[in-house]
């Protein structure tokens, strides 16, 4: 049982019920290409029809999260029952995956704008009468001016609590061309979330080439975050916007600790190459980067995971997530059971409440620190 703790789930994926839901929000020029793309996306997410992409053998979705029609995550009643009901989630941060980093930035930006408008009408509108959903403003970072306009359009909406960018853009996020996006996010006090969303094969360029197997691909999600974190730190983006927070979603937890050690190792030697940093990289990362739990690493001895979490050097960097309705969904109870008992409340909801401004939890450090395990 996990209902002793409030839960803020930082990675939930709503989907349109049918391609027409998004097409209604797109300019005419995109109706042809986007319609074809969306139809393929629907085939993949229904697990039916002919989809020639290379995916998980377990299919992309929890089988029991598939509604009567439409892909997983498209039926608000089913999501309420499984996520808010059975899983006991108090608040869900919604991250639609209608785009990945795309070949064409104008196309990507148009999909972002359509998705945001659709989210505002549906999941943050009609479907949110209970008030337990919050959204992400999706933007295409490779069209920074358009991205800033999109942030300005929705920042005052109230239902959107973060900006979201894909894990793959034209370059690493410390490059100066991306600064306007982060400046806009910082100005509106919105965190920036990055979510992994790729398929294996030629779509995943690892540092040594391309992967062949889905099993080979999935554990490497984390690889996407190394260059972005290093780039943001070295280029001084963290230093420039000290109040800006980055949320790295679906990359796991334990990798960040040894990476911070490595980043700091030559600080004395190379600090003069990046003189805008006035402290070692890990101090910025500890202050400004958060990771979400799913897919939580499960070493045979759970205490080893606890050591890595302890070595992070901050209790403010981890937030709970399920990844509902995807096949690699982390259920709350077995996940929280594997987290250090004295940090469960902090990871289950306190860090997220602080980041996203759920003020009802303010001063809730007295909340129960352990989850009864059935």
């Amino acid at each position: 049982m996990t209902d002793a703790l409030p839960l803020i789930d930082c990675d939930v994926h709503p989907a349109p019920r049918a391609p027409s839901e998004l097409l209604d929000y797109l300019p005419d020029r995109y109706q042809g290409t986007v319609a074809t793309m969306l139809k393929n996306w629907f085939r993949m997410n229904r697990g039916t029809g002919v989809f020639t992409g290379f995916g998980s053998l377990a299919t992309g979705m929890r089988r029991d999260a598939m509604p009567e029609s439409g892909p997983g995550g498209s039926d608000p009643a089913l999501m309420e029952r499984q996520l808010l009901g059975q899983a006991g989630i108090t608040y869900a941060i919604l991250i639609p995956l209608t785009i990945t980093g795309m070949a064409n930035p104008e196309h990507e930006a148009a999909m972002c704008a359509a998705t945001n408008a659709w989210m505002a009408d549906r999941w943050l509108g009609d479907y949110n009468k209970h008030g337990r959903y919050r959204g992400s403003i999706m933007v295409c970072p490779d069209l920074p001016e358009t991205a800033v306009e999109e942030i300005e359009r929705w920042a005052g909406h109230g239902g959107f609590v973060q900006v979201m960018i894909p894990n793959m853009a034209r370059g690493s996020y410390g490059l100066p061309q991306y600064l306007p996006v982060f400046e806009a996010a910082a100005r509106h006090r919105l965190p920036v979330a990055v979510h992994i969303n790729r398929t294996p094969g030629m779509a995943l360029l690892s540092p040594v080439g391309f992967v062949s197997y889905y099993f080979e691909f999935h554990p490497q999600y984390t690889l996407y975050y190394f260059p972005h974190v290093a780039s943001l730190a070295m280029a001084g983006v963290f230093a420039k916007f000290p109040d800006l927070r980055f949320v790295l979603v679906e990359g796991g937890v334990s990798w960040l600790t040894p990476f911070m050690w490595r980043l700091d190792h030559y600080w004395q030697r190379f600090g003069s190459e990046v003189p805008w940093l006035d402290r070692p990289p890990s101090e910025y990362i500890r202050r400004q980067v958060l990771v979400t739990t799913q897919p939580l690493e499960r070493p045979a001895e759970t205490k080893r995971l606890h050591e890595y979490i302890d070595w992070m050097g901050s209790e403010n960097m981890v937030m709970f997530s399920t990844d509902y309705p995807h096949w690699d969904y982390d259920h709350p109870e077995p996940t929280l059971r594997r987290l250090p008992a004295d940090l469960r409340a902090r990871f289950a909801y306190q860090n997220a409440a602080h980041l996203y401004g759920f003020t009802e939890f303010a001063g809730s450090d007295q909340a129960p620190s352990t989850v009864p395990v059935s």
Binding site: L57, R62, R63, D64, W327, D328, Y329, H331, E333, P334
Partner: protein, 115 residues
Amino acid sequence: MTIRACLVDELPPGSSRIVPGGRFGIGVFNCDGDLYAIANYCPHDGAPVCLGPVTGTTQSDGSYQASWIDEGRILRCPWHGWEFDMRTGKSVVSPTRRVKTYPVRVENGCILIDD
């Protein structure tokens, strides 16, 4: 204790149903005339395993080569896709992990599960 699941005629080959029993319910499957009864609880994370698809699995024929085997005998968990051999309950990949199975028999046209 014996659980009356249903009539054999109500469970044609290729079909399954979940009946009350045990702590989580019991899935009864008819695979080409063979009956299996499996606890509706995945040993991984507690998912309702019997809601998953009945499928086959692969067998290695050496690196880069594999063949498809056991069609209709493998239950794949609906959440994380763990595979279980319905004949033994054992995980295909890691046979030390298993779903609970029950003896199942037919008497007078009725499927009975011994719990």
